[in-house]
Amino acid sequence: MKDINELHKLANRIRGVALTLAHNANESHSGGALSMSDILAVLYSEYIDLDLVKKEAPKRDRVILSKGHCCASFYAILAEVEILDKDELMQNFAKNGTHYFAHVSHTLLGVELSTGSLGHGLPVACGMALGAKKSGLNFKVYCIVGDGEMNEGSNWEAIMFAAQHQLDNLCLIIDKNKMQALGDTKDILCLDPMPEKLAAFGWDVEDIDGNDIEDVISAFECFKKHRSGKPFVMVANTIKGKGVSFMEHNLKFHYSAPKDDELKQALEELA
């Protein structure tokens, strides 16, 4: 395993790439891209067999980014682990005529599902997890959703389904950055206490600090050893805009791309 410091640096590196992409293309959704960067760094460094992904092998583990609007840091980690070409990503993101859509696109290697409309990833992840068991391929499925996204009823249909059918090869990661498009999640459709709700639905729950590398590793280790017959969820408590002082818990960066001086300061803070 890479040391904690190295993973921390990787997470900040993909934050820097994500912000540079958003800046260059004048695209939004930086805050939610930053909040999940530590999770992406750990997941792709330690738990995904990258060769199988590159070969699109049937038994590869699947990662679904259901909060597809936060694709910038997702593309960034795929480039860091050399699934995508970094130069191509930097040149093409959100540019006319390319496949680097500003919501994750399955036309790119390493992206299993195009998302953007919320509440779509988890049902598809359930289907994949079921298929993994039925076919004997026995791969694992990771699905990353936002906590605002948990407003969507389709997620709760899938939460019941996964427990009913004992999809213990499914790992749901809720990036609980506590904000959604028009404000704080608790003021819009409060889902607290989320760990207790999910446990009541029959899931094994790890309630972690999703911006703490050690906490994230211990949660993935739990899932790796996990064979309880229950689906697994990590409620990852994070900070929207994490890592850049003026972006943290700031709704502006759900919408605005960082300007020249903002990008400069952000990259200095992340260095």
């Binding site: 509440g119 049902p123 079921l130 076919s135 249909e157």
Partner: protein
Amino acid sequence: MRTAFINQLLEEARHNERVFLLVGDLGYHVIEPFAAEFPDRFMNVGIAEQNMAGVAAGLAMTGYNVYIYSIGNFPTLRCFEQIRNDIAYHKANVKVVSVGAGYAYGSLGATHQATEEIGALRTLPNMVVATPGDPVEARAIATLSANYEGPMYIRLGKAGEKIVHEEEALSLKIGDIVALRKQDGNRTAVLACGNILASAKRQIEEEQLPYDLYSVPFVKPLNKEQLRAIVANYPDGLITIEEHQRSCGMGSAVVEQLNDMFAVGEIANYPKVRRVAIPDEFAEVVGNQEYLRKIEGLNL
């Protein structure tokens, strides 16, 4: 028709290990033989159609040919965005199967009347729309769909539809328009789709109408060459008939296709087309299928 379809699907599943059937807690007295013979490739996912469509897409992405089955609007309109994004956009190998086309569940009210879903589903890229008109066509489409890789919508009737085709088994290609009744000297062709096909045939026979009859088992795609040949043979034009809203169903698809062919010179004359369909309204009274067809004017 639904039993003919599911029984044929069961037959396909016997030699095709990729066939997987999901139902949305519906199918009493229809799906039991499939469930009993293939418990590993059958699942009642509960009353949760958005999840059913998403699960189907995910299962298909692991190699299965997944059928989702429920009544009329539930596996279609209720989860339309899942069908659009997760199934059609990804070209997932999913077959959306609805039962109770049109007014088949007429007395249950507007919620159970499937009268707009052809229109919705045929707008989706990558989607084939199949509308079998009798149990023979339903069986043929079950076989065809089991061997077809990609999204398809299959709109079934209910139970007890009359058999219209004389042959027991029919081999269909996607897009086929099938001639059912032809008589020398007829100058008008009727194109019918879905379970109103038998009723159109009966009316032509009983009233000795001078019309030839064609079944349209696929609203999308329509076979252009076959349509062009039909137009060329009937100087008095076409009548389309369906149990669906006029604005967006089979008749619309025919008119759109003819229009586009005329615009680029692929047909020399634009035929007269009378469209028999539901006139942009919900049925306001209780009625069984026959009754509602009558009050909505669904006859030739």
